[in-house]
């Protein structure tokens, strides 16, 4: 009788340990977390297909100060991912190519290959970041989710990171066709988000400057 109980306990212990061993080093979508440097705001990030757009630290507050005299407001959208396994242990040296950003609605977005991957592999603490400019065209006004091997983190719904690009016609490069569409947007009120590059809700010469910088950019 005692022997049977001991065997049972031993078997259960084996199963539990086996399960823990199986998840060790495997990213857990619930345990892992991703946060933006400035919490609680909706960001707007200007991107170019050649990654020559804004760094995450040079993002804007979506919509600026608002109102008739709205001005752009800078914001830090740098994303920090902490990758943990099922035992809340850091997953180190996880490949940057297997971690990327993906928007809930990408119907107006052109993502160049590998254009939204993390800046580098995770470190010993399981941490990696998104700081550098992304390779993007088009625009998205929805939550951005951190994807791990094709699956979104479940620890939160996503990061309110809206993006737009001088690639207004969403074809992966910035050329005269984009300038034509941008020029048409310039006279519209309210400002179409796809061309409101400094995200203050208004079309201004500052947006024109961004377009001029972007001409000629294309996906790698």
């Amino acid at each position: 009788m005692v022997l049977r109980k001991l065997v049972g306990i031993f078997a259960v212990t084996l199963i539990v340990c086996g399960a823990s061993f199986a998840t060790a080093g495997v990213p857990d979508l619930e345990e892992s977390t991703a946060t933006a440097a400035d919490a609680g705001i909706t960001f707007s990030l200007f991107c170019l297909p050649d990654a020559g757009g804004s760094a995450f630290g040079d993002a804007y507050l979506k919509g600026g100060t608002g109102g008739a005299g709205s001005v752009a407001v800078g914001a830090d959208a740098t994303i920090t991912l902490t990758l943990l396994d099922g035992g809340a242990v850091a997953v180190s040296d996880f490949s940057f190519e297997d971690m990327w950003l993906q928007w809930v609605d990408e119907s107006n977005l052109h993502v160049c290959e590998g254009g939204t991957v993390a800046d580098g592999n995770t470190d010993d603490a399981g941490v990696t970041t998104w700081e550098n400019g992304m390779n993007l065209g088009g625009n998205a006004e929805c939550l951005a989710q951190v994807m791990i091997n094709g699956a979104a983190l479940t620890s939160d719904l996503g990061i309110p990171l809206h993006v737009n690009s001088a690639d207004v016609d969403i074809d992966g490069d910035v050329d005269l066709l984009d300038v034509v569409q941008f020029s048409g947007d310039f006279v519209l009120t309210p400002a179409p988000y796809r061309s409101d590059f400094v995200s203050d809700g208004l079309m201004k010469v500052t947006d024109v400057s961004k377009m001029a910088v972007g001409v000629g950019a294309s996906c790698p």
Binding site: A72, F182, V198, T206, S209
Partner: protein, 198 residues
């Protein structure tokens, strides 16, 4: 020898005065007939093209990533045109006389930074009057004066104008050909107006 020294000094003084920017205000935009922002009135014969420079005087920014302004030229002339300064200018202003320009690379500023060159061909010796205004639409809320974009490329800076009509509270005639009327260079900015009442 003494006479030679005096002549050299005198010519140096004349040269330095002649090259001085006539508008003392910071970030003030105007139209001039020389690249040193010193000449705003000049005689001109018919059928000879006149270049007039849109110049940002005394900028306190290191570079100009974009600029916007409007202008009118009233008189008897033909073939007006404009050359926009800067690398890869994109103009969404909609036509000659209204310019909202972004640049692919900044113009490095000097005391007299040339933003554009307006050219026209007078048909006679009658006066031609130039006025520099803000662009339409104006990127600065409730402004009617020009603006520039400062480094790092998304900072909007409002500019004054070299001539201001105090009565009408709007930019006035800032340059003229074949006339020597009064150009309101004194009250060129809000700071200058305030200084009159200190």
């Amino acid at each position: 020898m003494k006479k030679l020294v005096v002549l050299i000094l005198a010519s140096l003084m004349v040269a330095s005065v002649a090259s001085a920017v006539v508008d003392p205000d910071v970030n003030s935009m105007g139209i001039y007939f020389d690249v040193n922002a010193d000449v705003f009135e000049m005689p001109a014969g018919p059928y000879v093209e006149i270049p007039a420079y849109v110049i940002l005087a005394n900028p306190d920014v290191s570079g100009v990533w974009g600029y916007e302004f409007g202008f009118t030229a009233v008189g008897n002339y033909i073939a007006p045109s404009i050359e926009l300064n800067g690398t890869g200018p994109i103009d969404v202003g909609g036509g000659l006389g209204n310019h909202i320009v972004g640049l692919a690379a900044p113009i490095a500023t000097t005391q007299a930074t040339i933003l554009a060159t307006i050219k026209l061909l007078p048909m006679d010796v009658a006066p031609i009057y130039y006025t520099l205004t803000g662009a339409d639409p104006n990127s600065m809320f409730e402004s009617n004066t020009p603006n520039i974009v400062a480094p790092p490329g998304d900072v909007l800076v409002g500019c004054g104008v070299s001539a201001w009509d105090v009565e009408l509270e709007e930019p006035g005639i800032c340059a003229m050909v074949n006339d020597t009327g009064v150009i309101a260079t004194d009250e060129a900015s809000w700071d200058s107006v305030k200084s009159l009442y200190r």
